[in-house]
Amino acid sequence: MPKMKRRSFLKASAVTAAAASVPLKMSFADYKEAAEEEEGYKIPTTCNGCSSMCGVYVHVKNDRVWRVEGHPVHLKSRGRICARGHGMAADMYNKGRVQGPMKRNANDEFEPISWEQAYKEIGEKLTETIDEHGGNSFLWLEHGVRGQRYANPLLDKIGSSNYVTHYSTCFSSKTNAWAEMVGTTLNGDHENAKYMIFEGRNFAGAIIPHGMNQITKAKENGAKIVVIDPKHSEIAKIADDWIPIKPGTDLAFRLALAHVLITEEKYDKDFVNGYVENFAEFWRENKDKSPEWAEEITGIPAEKIREVAHDLAANAPEAFIEPGWHGLHCHYVNSTQTAQMGIVVNALLGNFYKRGGLMPSADPEFGTFEHDGWSEEEKGPRADGAGVAGEHYTVEASRGIAQTVPDMIEKGRIKAAFIYHFNPLRTAPDPEYQKKIKNADLVVSINIDWNETSVYTADYILPESYYLERTEVPQAVSGHISHDYPQISLRQQVTEPLHDTKPLREIMQGITTEMGMGELYDYSLDDEIEAMLEPTGLSAEELKEKGTVELQTNKVEASFPLCPSGNPNLATSTGKIEFSADKFRADGKAGIPTWIEPKVMPDPSADDEFRLIHGKQPYHSHHVTSNNPDLIKLTKKYNGTAMWMNTKKAQKLGINDGDIVTVSSDMTEKEIDVKVTELIHPDCVWISSAYGGFSDRLETAYNLGVNYNDFIPVMVEPYSGTTMSQEVIVKVAKGGVS
């Protein structure tokens, strides 16, 4: 137990002068008075602080959202929510919200426009564009995947294949590998595991509250946690072992783990014989990837690699490399192979469909909502080239390539774009390049606030109602953590909309009605909810009252999927886990994962060169929470914008803790203050992914810290189309930008 440093906190907070105050807040006395005046109420709904969409109860007093607590049933929260979940509720009152539909005028300024007029103008313009350039010139770009059900009717009707998600900036390397090799994705069964590796994966930063609860419970029950990450992340805080790997070399580490398991015959032979295809080919390709070979590359001693492999094997099948999401899976040129090796090592442990290993999600069976009135047009090739022969054939077409939209526009493939709940100008590489999205004939931004994408590229901003102001269709509660029974949750309106905003379905109905396609969205949300719930036996009333309901059907079983004949029945060509990805081979690429060098490496002789890496802080969801005064209060108090640098490297450069430095890449140079720490690998510097806001209409986020996307050019990882966002070398010099 360290001694508490008296005053250390107050000193730090003295720097944090005024940030905008949240109207949510009343003084204590005011509150007491208000509470006496009126009884409040609480409504179950789901959080929107990140894509986990935890079940929550929102308490309202005097018609104002007061506070949030976790829903006791919802498997992601189980009564406990994270800082973002609390903080983002208050964003309903944020001054940065777009308060009604907006149109960019001839002076390049936004002016209010009525919904009717906006629908009319957008409808006309879109009809013109489709008439002239065809339906395939329309792009729907979103975070994913919530808007898809309202994008699809229009995309199908006009014949556009261009539905693109943010996933290429986040984790497509993982989903691509799993789709090709396993045909599904599985989750770590943290609660029952005995040995868990979190590699480049900060589960305590990208939080699922109940997932963390399961992990800490497992640890109390004796499970071992090993974190492999160049940065001592929040999950490393509770790890038994933190192994700081040279960034970009995780693939080599995983190849060496497989090498130890195979050469020492510590892998699960029965499992491999029964359920794995291409094992022999894999081994032929990778016989030389020994721990000694990997030590050279990763900086991790060969003995340590052996130790980890032995521990994995000793605890198998209640042991795994966490499948993860963002971490490692859009970061490097070898990210797809790294994800493939995650599958290989886990399969060698025989942990698929095993308690304490990897388990499937329990999914409810929803009814589909059918409505008549729209025919499907033939669709053209995807503008981003995802899945297109001769272009990015091996990239998943269902996810697309989000970072190359300006290129699609420049090539004349895209003329009109709708951007829903996504801010590529801040969360995709090279914002100056992303600004060219504006060159499309029509850009409609359907976002909550005055984000960078709206401000710099939109012709129209059609503000969606805040998540506490709208009801959506029921959701399956699943993904990333393990649970036996399916759950269904409902996001529902907690208060009346504060501003002139609308839910997405209504916006789409308004526009398409003007296009003479009013039938596309001619149904009510209640129709949808009823149709979806039909097979579940759950009534809309019950779901609305309870918020989250656990079904007692469709229990997941710890057994490998088999056909009636007894053969393995995964959705791959052989029904087995395939160590070689067919699709990659068909494209003339390597199907079997083997070593690929990172694209760039810092020059070991240059003390001022570093790889720039980034990650999540537990109180931010990348940039989306960065204008929230409650969360930024934490940023300021705890110096969350600082760039982490290893102490020895800092000493060599004469840099002290708190110094201002200039960080430069081929793209830009920026000033930032430094946190000098032992807790990071000397080859890299780290920043949080939350900052660097440049929309001056978002006061709290504006000009606060820097963002990694400023330093990287637009790149496309050859297998999965991701941004390779850590393939960048920066130079760091003491002092500000001269």
Binding site: M1, V22, K25, K237
Partner: protein, 179 residues
């Protein structure tokens, strides 16, 4: 009469700050006011190094310097042990702030020296204070020290525990599980 206390397992804390923000919202705290906070301490040198995180807040001291110096009884110890605060009686003299060894009090806009009250409205409903109930890692276990069967007593019995700055003689009601 229940006697309240809090057992903190700081080894499990991952620094998510949910406790402090849940508290701020529940108590409608102003921008500059916080009832609880985290202290971060690095130890060791690369690559053999680690981070400690210690949640700190009002310790609800049994021998509370803040109670002793408060001339108006605005700060007082309740029968259940909780050190309460009555803003109506506070004159804003700041004596309690100076006396508190844990920096647990904060001046609000009205210049009153607020502090954690252990969420009496939640206790009345038989619930934990909001910082405890939201903590995903179950770092904070609040409970009745009088009841031998309470979870807090049972857990306390299983571990070695310590208090922050016992040398100050304040007899805090918060214990920390030793590493």
């Amino acid at each position: 009469m229940a006697q309240y206390g809090l057992l903190i397992d700081a080894t499990k804390c991952t620094g998510c700050h949910a406790c402090s923000i849940a508290c701020s919202q529940y108590n409608e705290l102003e921008e500059e006011v916080d009832y609880n906070r985290l202290e971060f301490v690095e130890r060791g040198s690369f690559p053999n190094c680690a981070m400690d995180i210690v949640p700190v807040q009002c310790m609800h001291c049994d021998d509370a310097p803040c109670v002793n110096v408060c001339s108006t009884m605005a700060t007082f110890q309740q029968e259940d042990g909780i050190v309460g605060f009555d803003p109506q009686k506070c004159t804003g003299c700041k004596a309690c702030m100076a006396a508190c060894p844990y920096d647990a009090r904060a001046l609000n806009e009205a210049r009153l020296a607020e502090k954690c009250r252990w969420c009496p409205e939640m206790l009345q409903q038989g619930k934990q204070p909001v910082c405890s109930s939201t903590c995903m890692n179950e770092v904070r276990l609040f409970g009745d020290l009088e009841d031998p069967d309470s979870e807090i007593n049972q857990k306390m019995a299983k571990h070695e525990v310590e208090q922050l700055r016992p040398d100050m003689g304040t007899k805090p009601r918060i214990w920390y599980i030793k590493k």
